[in-house]
């Protein structure tokens, strides 16, 4: 492989690993707001214990997110220098805004969230938790805006020619609100809320299975399951909106999602399947007309196929890979709705704690949002190929010209080794915290908190 292929592998690897953590920070941040609000409202020490426990988990997840996140910022320059020169004028302001508005807010108030229990009042602690949650959401805004601009560029013009051409901003707000940013932000945030909610559900279900910390687990699941259901239903809705945007703005990507080669009216939606890129055909059970309905709200409307949208196969993404990632994401998304409905039903009936198979299902449900988040991003990014900025800059032209393949091989090995080690330690410590469970002493608020 050359420096381009290797850089793509490295970026996929480091981004995928990084993206395990921010969704959990965002989602858990939201749940912490609910938990602390419940504590403020009821004064029930159980919620204090819950806030303490989940704050410790939050700290661990946050540290991993910070440690792996700084790699992402540097990688644009190290591996994708030509891209950075091309987009810097447009993309940089979003990244700088992320630093100023999101990261400072998040990291500053995180200190109070983690270490301020005995130093500030309950209300101030709650406000800090809200600020951390807000900061985490802000950080999603700017990075998704930047990525969306790569999908559907707007508010810019091209200055210069050939290798020295670059995009310059003409309208900041048109760049921020480019055609896909709101839909994709909503979609990303729903995925993050799911990641946070199912983490809490999974751990609580584990305690119910082991018949430990029963009150603690019941109370937590009562907060997390509704969030999971709302998140999962909103996700279905936002996914639909996003797909309509893709149909409109990135027809090649939508055709790749479904392995659709010929432009067809009453286009069918595949449940699952396999795309043979050589013979340009797809097999698998399909629901007639549904793709046309989903894309255009009208079964008779044609959906553009790959042969029309990208006549030259060189302008198409790897179709089967895009298809598989997309379908995996959708399947898991439906699974999560099913699991949260089932869980809520049994919770309302009071039969949750006795349903061992359901509890096991809830325990493993923590993997669901991660699989869907990762698959979704892979579908979105692979589906945009061969472009790094849709229609403007090819991935093959984006890599750093001075970069040597052997340097990238060295860094891939280094990052892989470091990340494997970190992941092992992360899982070990997370498991340790879960096995240890909530602290009984947290049922008695200490310090300033005792005074309310």
């Amino acid at each position: 492989m050359d420096a381009i292929g290797l850089s793509r592998v490295q970026f996929a690897l480091t981004a995928a690993f990084h993206y395990l953590y921010p969704p959990m920070s965002i989602g858990l941040g939201l749940l912490l707001v609910f938990i602390e609000a419940a504590w403020l409202k009821t004064g029930n020490a159980l919620y204090h214990q819950m806030a303490r426990f989940w704050t410790r988990v939050f700290g661990l997840i946050f540290a991993m997110g910070v440690a792996t996140g700084i790699v992402m910022e540097f990688e644009f320059g190290t591996n994708w220098a030509a891209y950075s020169r091309f987009v810097g004028d447009v993309f940089g302001s979003a990244l700088a805004a992320e630093g100023i508005f999101a990261f400072f807010l998040e990291s500053g108030f995180l200190a109070v969230l983690l270490f301020g229990w005995d130093k500030v009042s309950r209300t101030f602690h709650f406000v800090s938790t809200c600020m951390v949650c807000l900061g985490a959401h802000f950080s999603a805004i700017w990075i998704v805006v930047a990525n969306s601009w790569m999908q559907t560029p707007a508010g810019f013009h091209i200055v210069g020619e050939g290798a020295s051409a670059r995009a310059e901003i003409t309208d900041f707000w048109a760049m921020v609100f480019n055609p896909s940013s709101i839909d994709r932000l909503f979609h990303t945030l729903c995925g993050a809320w799911q990641a946070g909610a199912f983490l809490v559900i999974s751990v609580s279900a584990w305690y119910l299975l082991k018949r430990k910390h029963m009150d603690f687990a019941r109370a937590a699941i009562r907060i997390a399951l509704p969030v999971a259901l709302v998140g999962s239903l909103l996700q279905l809705f936002s996914g639909h909106i996003s797909a309509q945007g893709v149909a409109k703005n990135q027809p090649v990507k939508l055709a790749a999602f479904e392995g659709l080669y010929d432009t067809t009216s009453n286009a069918p939606l595949r449940m699952f399947g396999w795309v043979d890129e050589k013979s340009e055909s797809v097999i698998g059970p399909a629901i007639p007309s549904l793709l046309s309905v989903l894309a255009h709200n009208d079964p008779s409307k044609p959906v553009t196929g790959l042969r029309e949208a990208a006549p030259d196969p060189k302008d198409r993404p790897p179709v089967n890979m895009t298809f598989q990632f997309f379908h995996l994401m959708v399947a898991v998304g439906f699974g999560l709705i099913f699991i949260s409905v089932l869980g809520l039903y049994h919770m309302r009936r009071g039969s949750l704690a006795d349903n061992r198979w359901l509890l096991w299902l809830l325990v493993i449900s923590v993997l669901g949002p991660h699989i869907a988040n990762q698959a979704g991003w892979f579908a979105a990014e692979v589906g945009r190929q061969p472009w790094i900025v849709q229609g403007l800059l090819r991935t093959s032209d984006a890599v750093s010209p001075v970069l040597k393949a052997d340097a990238v091989i060295a860094s891939i090995f280094l990052f892989t080794a470091v990340y494997l080690l970190l992941f092992a330690v992360f899982i070990y410590l997370l498991n340790d915290k879960i096995q240890h469970g909530p602290d009984e002493s947290d049922l008695v608020p200490t310090g300033k908190l005792a005074r309310g």
Binding site: A81, S84, G88, A96, F109, K119
Partner: protein, 343 residues
């Protein structure tokens, strides 16, 4: 916002210098505390030391993230050239920063001696190497690196390891260690404080020696940095302020006035960066041997539109940042007391 005739390129040169100075002042003491970490023995002492930076290190690192983002946005060509040219050095810097960050989080999570030893070492080496590599990168940019006509770096990893940048790297370690030892004096009491009483003067002298050698080396290997000072002698005032600040650090530590020493140390860090920035202006990356290929605030910059949008963002954002950063430092003021929530 419309900024009229304001020279946006120069403004952003200054703002990026401010961001990196903010990083050096704030995360500088975190890295310094890390450098000293292994010199302090005893689990309780080390834990105390770690918790002097516990609530703040993360926010301090954000100054680097924002500085990098601002560089990307304001001067994309500098960001692209430097980050791709210094590839392996930057990958090492990232790995160091990763180990520093996770070690802080992981270290006290298990009782095992081996566990704590491993993460103590990784915290300390990560901090030392981060400070060193930042210094080396900075030294290279200031001393000049080979660039071609398109502004791409034409050297290799070994080009970066010339004597002058290495001296800047060592001086960075020394500067941060001095700064961190004084910060830690402010934040501790008891046995660890007594140990730091011994280590702080040593760190200060280590810095003074490095600084003196670096000054000589600058006249020999990077004399272009002092040209502007020669032509505008009043700029030497800054150098004098810097020298006075360093001398005052020595004096105040002797008198055990740690606050005054820390303030002087902050001034010294800021002055050092200011002197470098003035020496560099209007270049951002100096090309040697072909100075005409240098990246400047004009040929490396984003459009005027982007610079003005970003200035608006900065003018809204910076007061907020300063507001909540100071309130966090206020909430966590005073000496460190270990409790359940501590690292």
């Amino acid at each position: 916002m419309d900024f009229g005739t304001l020279d946006l390129n120069t403004t952003w040169f200054i703002l990026i210098a401010v961001l990196f100075a903010g990083y050096a002042v704030l995360d500088g003491f975190d890295l310094g505390v890390g450098a000293l970490h292994l010199f302090v023995k005893g689990d309780n002492e080390r834990r105390t030391l770690l918790n002097t930076i516990g609530p703040v290190w993360d926010g301090n690192e954000v100054w680097l993230v924002t500085g990098g983002g601002a560089l990307f946005a304001a001067f994309p060509n500098v960001y692209a050239t430097v980050f791709s040219g210094f590839y392996l050095a930057l990958v090492l810097l990232l790995v160091s920063l990763i180990f520093r960050a996770v070690a802080i989080e992981f270290r006290s999570k298990r009782e095992s001696k081996l566990w704590r030893g491993v993460w103590d070492t990784s915290f300390s080496l990560g901090s030392l190497l981060s400070g060193f590599l930042l210094g080396v990168a900075f030294g290279n940019i200031a001393a000049g690196i080979p660039l071609d006509a398109r502004g791409e770096f034409t050297g290799s990893f070994w080009t970066l390891l010339r004597p002058y940048p290495i001296m800047v790297g060592l001086t960075s370690i020394a500067l941060f260690t001095m700064h961190g030892s004084i910060y830690a004096l402010l934040k501790t009491n008891g046995t660890v404080h007594e140990k730091l009483r011994v280590w702080a003067p040593r760190a200060i002298w280590f810095f003074v020696v490095c600084y003196a050698l670096l000054t000589i080396a600058t006249f020999v290997w990077a004399s272009h940095l002092v040209e502007r000072f020669m032509s505008r002698p009043w700029l030497f005032c800054l150098a004098i302020v810097n020298l006075l600040a360093i001398a005052n650090v020595v004096r105040e530590i002797r008198r055990r006035r740690d606050w005054a020493a820390f303030m002087s140390s902050c001034v010294a860090v800021i002055m050092l960066l200011a002197i470098c920035a003035i020496g560099m202006y209007p270049n951002l990356v100096l090309s040697a041997p072909n100075p005409e290929h240098s990246l400047t605030i004009r040929n490396a910059a984003s459009s005027q539109k982007t610079l003005s949008v970003m200035l608006t963002i900065a003018l809204i954002g910076m007061p907020l940042v300063i507001g909540y950063t100071s309130s966090i430092y206020y909430i966590f003021r005073g000496k460190v007391k270990l409790d359940r929530a501590s690292y």
